[in-house]
Symmetry: C2
Subunit: 404 residues, 2 copies
């Protein structure tokens, strides 16, 4: 159940990027679970991957192939091909070989992605068998089907699309993501695929994506469990009439802003679909000594089960937020200087409850579906934001009842 | 509801340590909520306190007074006197003054402790009014009433008592603790009070307590939320016939072992009373490069909502444990060397599911009420253990329904 209004948007096709889907019967249900993406020759492609040491086999292969001018991305849902040891690596490589053979390319030009159950062998025969059907469906105007094909326990498809004008020329930015926490079936994963028709070098595209992800996908949390399969890809087909975007240009600034916006929206949609979520919580930490301590404080609040259950109960239980700030591990924290706000309502100042605070004012904010918590540390100039959701009975149900 | 059998033990009185309780009407219910402990002149006293930067007013006062040869401890439940700013400090000091006046001592000889709601003023008038009754009840054989008086949402009183023989002489070690997570009413707190009749210097006693706490209270977690009021106190009355225990002696080794055992048991009782807990989980990390990374891996598993809900569901969902180990932040972790066991059953080896693993074997372990998870990192010689509990519907209910 989504928090807020999340209609799937009109998706603008991206010239030079084709998508094809099929049902390869990897999932239990008879829904599309295989997505093939084809990049036009000369397109550039950037990606970021999970930092989990137990990363999945496809992550290992995709990371290695990223520098070899990828032409195809193959994505399956229903099986994560993670915790699968040597056989998992062989299966991931086999899926690349299958794509290459079908297209007359090399296996190194293929990036594989998997999402779904951990620890079960990838049914590679099904993947190979389903591939020709996905290949036949390859068209540019196919983003909606693609968004659906990568879903696992997601309750809605997640998309973003915008025509952006840079130096008087239009470029398109279109992307999809999936993820609802870390549940399905042993652990869901976050995946994001964003495409643009801008022309930009691989190195600059990677810088752009890394910067955008750091402030978007790396600033969301449902339950603090980093998946084995997380990946986000940015593809640039170079088919727009806009001249190549180069480092330090005004066009680069505008392009970065466009990608930032796409990543922020796709990340936010994942939180709006967080398992059991009934509320969207935005945690702003201001006047931190540096970025790292700002994120540290924000994530400590975002991961606190006590804070999350209080939000679920719409309970203005500000002592739990105060306690989370206090245990975040920031050295020499002067609690006298800290201010904490629920929405616009000051709840903590001078080391305790704000003088003007009333339970009614706090309750009014807590009753809302989208809530902003602002923590002012009074230590410096740094500001960071983390998005999370509340913690409900349904979170326990979804994660405890699976497989039973 | 306790996990396992937790009968309150027979509590041996400790010569030189008297306890008195009363109902001062700080709690809603008409139960004892005020505890006064009197130490015989010449007794030594060690303590450790929460590291939460927003620590409660009584923690600030008790920490300052600890070096001034404390003679009295005053403990109230029902109100944490935390997040109460300047007024909270004045109230904590006033409670010390009241004890001192009643006894002809100085306020610096009093250590105050509070546990209960955060952010509400301590009803200091009730504390002062209740004090004479607690004073009148001061006797040595009063540990059971003391254990009950410090409870908040605890579902059972927590005690430990043992007569230990050192160099042919008997000493007594008796202690109580409270805590069931961080719930009641905004945040419960862990408190521990342990007494012995051994004779030992303040410095050595502090070293002994710090070492014992590091391996016991600092190795348990219900929900990862460090309270603003946590404190553990070790009192030594010096009334036993055993000569003074000195550094480096065999007696010190035996004494440390006795205090370690008391702290371990009192800590374990808190986990057995964890909010909504249905299972006790012992997480052993072996062959770690150092103590810090062993604790880091163990706590990442212990705090993972996905792992905790799987335990609640008795689901041998080993992929979640593997993923938690992988994201624990240990640098250059070689997943090929890691082995993970559920009880005696090897679930992960060579980077994936153990060859001999069967779902039936995993299920058999998960069905038990007490479960040991062992992670062998293959990096060194360090070993650490963390205790935790599972994550159930009742955890959400207890923490979401309060105040509604």
């Amino acid at each position: 159940m989504a928090v807020g209004k999340v209609d799937f948007p009109q998706m603008h096709a991206v010239s030079g990027i084709k998508l094809g889907t099929t049902c390869a019967n990897i999932k239990q249900s008879a829904r599309d679970d295989l997505l093939l993406i084809e990049l036009i020759e000369g397109a550039t492609c950037a990606a970021v991957f999970t930092q989990n040491a137990f990363c999945a086999a496809p992550v290992v292969v995709a990371r290695a192939n990223l520098q070899k001018k990828p032409r195809w991305l193959l994505v399956n849902s229903g099986n994560a091909n993670a915790g699968t040891g040597e056989q998992g690596m062989l299966d991931a490589q086999a899926s690349c070989v299958a794509v290459a053979e079908l297209n007359g390319g090399t296996e190194e030009q293929v990036l594989p992605f998997s999402t779904g159950v951990i620890g079960q062998p990838l049914p590679i025969a099904k993947v190979v068998k389903g591939l020709p059907a996905a290949q036949e469906n390859l068209i540019e105007d196919n983003w909606s089907k693609a968004a659906h094909a990568i879903m696992t326990t997601d309750t809605f498809a997640k998309g973003y699309s915008k025509i952006v004008e840079i130096n008087g020329q239009k470029i398109t930015v279109t992307g999809i993501s999936k993820g609802a926490g870390m549940i399905q079936p042993n652990m869901a994963t976050m995946l994001g695929f964003i495409a643009t028709d801008a022309k930009i070098s691989q190195d600059l595209l990677q810088e752009c994506l890394s910067a955008a992800v750091e402030q978007s996908f790396n600033r969301i949390t449902v339950d603090g469990d980093t998946s084995t399969n997380d990946a986000c890809v940015l593809m640039a087909s170079g088919q727009s009439v806009l001249p190549e975007i180069i480092e330090g240009s005004d066009a680069m600034v505008a392009f970065q802003a466009a990608i930032d916006e796409a990543c922020m929206r796709l990340a936010e949609l994942i939180i709006r679909d967080g398992e059991g979520a009934t509320k969207l919580i935005k945690i702003n930490v201001q006047q931190a000594g540096n970025e790292s301590e700002a994120v540290q404080v924000a994530k400590t609040i975002a991961h606190s089960p006590l804070v999350k259950t209080a939000f679920f109960a719409s309970d203005p239980n500000w002592g739990r937020i105060l306690a989370a700030v206090g245990r975040a591990g920031v050295e020499r924290l002067d609690v006298e200087r800290i201010k904490i706000y629920l929405g616009d309502v000051c709840i903590v100042e001078n080391g305790g409850c704000a003088a003007a605070y009333t339970e009614e004012a706090g309750q009014e904010v807590m009753n809302q579906e989208e809530i902003t918590v602002t923590v002012v540390l009074g230590r410096g100039e740094s500001e960071q934001r983390v998005l999370t959701c509340d913690f409900s009975y349904d979170y326990v149900r979804i994660n405890a009842e699976y497989r039973t």
